[in-house]
Symmetry: C2
């Protein structure tokens, strides 16, 4: 069918640009993390908490995607690190071309970490490689422990499932063990952490997870200057 | 661009089928409601509550869309009304063709109400007319009061914004007045109700809203037999 062919062509073109981005990030020693979730799962709150804990000398930046508004970028700029908004104007996901364009006139070449906050959508962003080192799927406890089975593609492609809003656990019928079991049925190797940016639970484990991902990128950056 | 042309053709074809469906629903006196929200906003819980309150003689049915699994259909079948699952197999929304096919071998011709539970996605389902009398956008209080501005298309096209999980209001930073203001900035004529299927708050108002929508369909059904 014509539509499938066009989709395949679009994804092929996306993969080509994503490959270039990935090479560039590796050469620069930049860890790029692509945060994906439903609307309102806490991507922006997680980034607020993460930036708040960064030291001024950390070379950290955020690209944040939204269909409309730059609310998220405004929230994130308060911490003093570079934040750039990509407004997709109706498109339901970020693609590699949007990221490439956003980086073109931006001081992204010496970053240690680049966070990409995708459009709030648990379906479409899964299909678009952005050149990231890892996709992270956020799942809020208010959404239900069945979601990894219902939206398998994103959990299959993510390195980490981050269960958010742990502080709301007492008020919702969410079974942590069931959520883990469901995620591992879809993706046996997925790492799983929990976090609440309200109580601070899991914040340290989240930081440690990021640090662990940074190791190979640090070595690459070191090798490039030796 | 080729991709845009294909999208336009797909949407044109969808609108044609949706128009046929709408004519059929009107002629049969069937009120068709298309429920749209992010994953985990409470579409299935709302339908469980709604079916639980129906009388056995009510001619009510549900078409429920999911990318994978038939969990929702299993949950909804317990109430004894016809429930049919549409598994989209990766597609991020329902379209009119899927609804037409699902109805082809189904006793849908004498229904009073047909609920369509769309795929959990606040973006893509907004573009696909399913022949419904009204779209309903569910927004859970855990998702944040800014969402109507960030995902304007669905709130612009919905007749009703149903704010769900009111029982969680004490635990989350959600401002009801702000959510209403944001929804009305996008769509001044949108109706707004709140509901909690846990405490029962707003359930009566939700039933009354449905009854109000049924009036013209009841008259149409009556006219067709006179």
């Amino acid at each position: 069918m014509n539509r499938l062919l066009v989709e395949r062509k679009v994804l092929g073109e996306n993969d080509r640009i994503a490959l270039e981005l990935r090479k560039r990030f590796r050469a620069q020693g930049t860890l790029c993390l692509n945060l994906i979730s439903a609307p309102g799962s806490g991507k922006t709150s997680l980034l607020e908490s993460t930036l708040r804990d960064c030291r001024p000398q950390d070379r950290v930046a955020v690209l944040t995607g939204d269909i409309q508004t730059d609310n998220d970028a405004s929230r994130l700029r308060r911490f003093g690190f570079p934040v750039k908004q990509i407004t997709t104007g109706g498109t339901c996901h970020l693609d590699a071309r949007m990221v490439e364009r956003a980086l073109a006139d931006w001081p992204g070449h010496n970053l240690e970490i680049l966070f990409i906050e995708n459009v709030g959508n648990l379906v479409c962003p899964a299909s678009y490689d952005l050149g990231e080192a890892a996709k992270i799927a956020l799942l809020s406890v208010t959404e239900g422990d069945d979601k990894p089975l219902k939206y398998p593609s994103i959990f299959f492609r993510s390195s980490l499932m981050l269960i958010t809003k742990l502080d709301l656990l007492p008020y919702v019928p969410f079974d942590l063990a069931e959520a883990e079991k469901n995620a591992r049925r879809v993706h046996p190797g997925i790492e799983i952490r929990g976090i609440s940016t309200v109580t601070g639970e899991g914040v340290r484990e989240w930081r440690l997870w990021i640090e662990k991902q940074r190791e190979p990128h640090r070595l690459a950056a070191l090798a490039s200057v030796l």
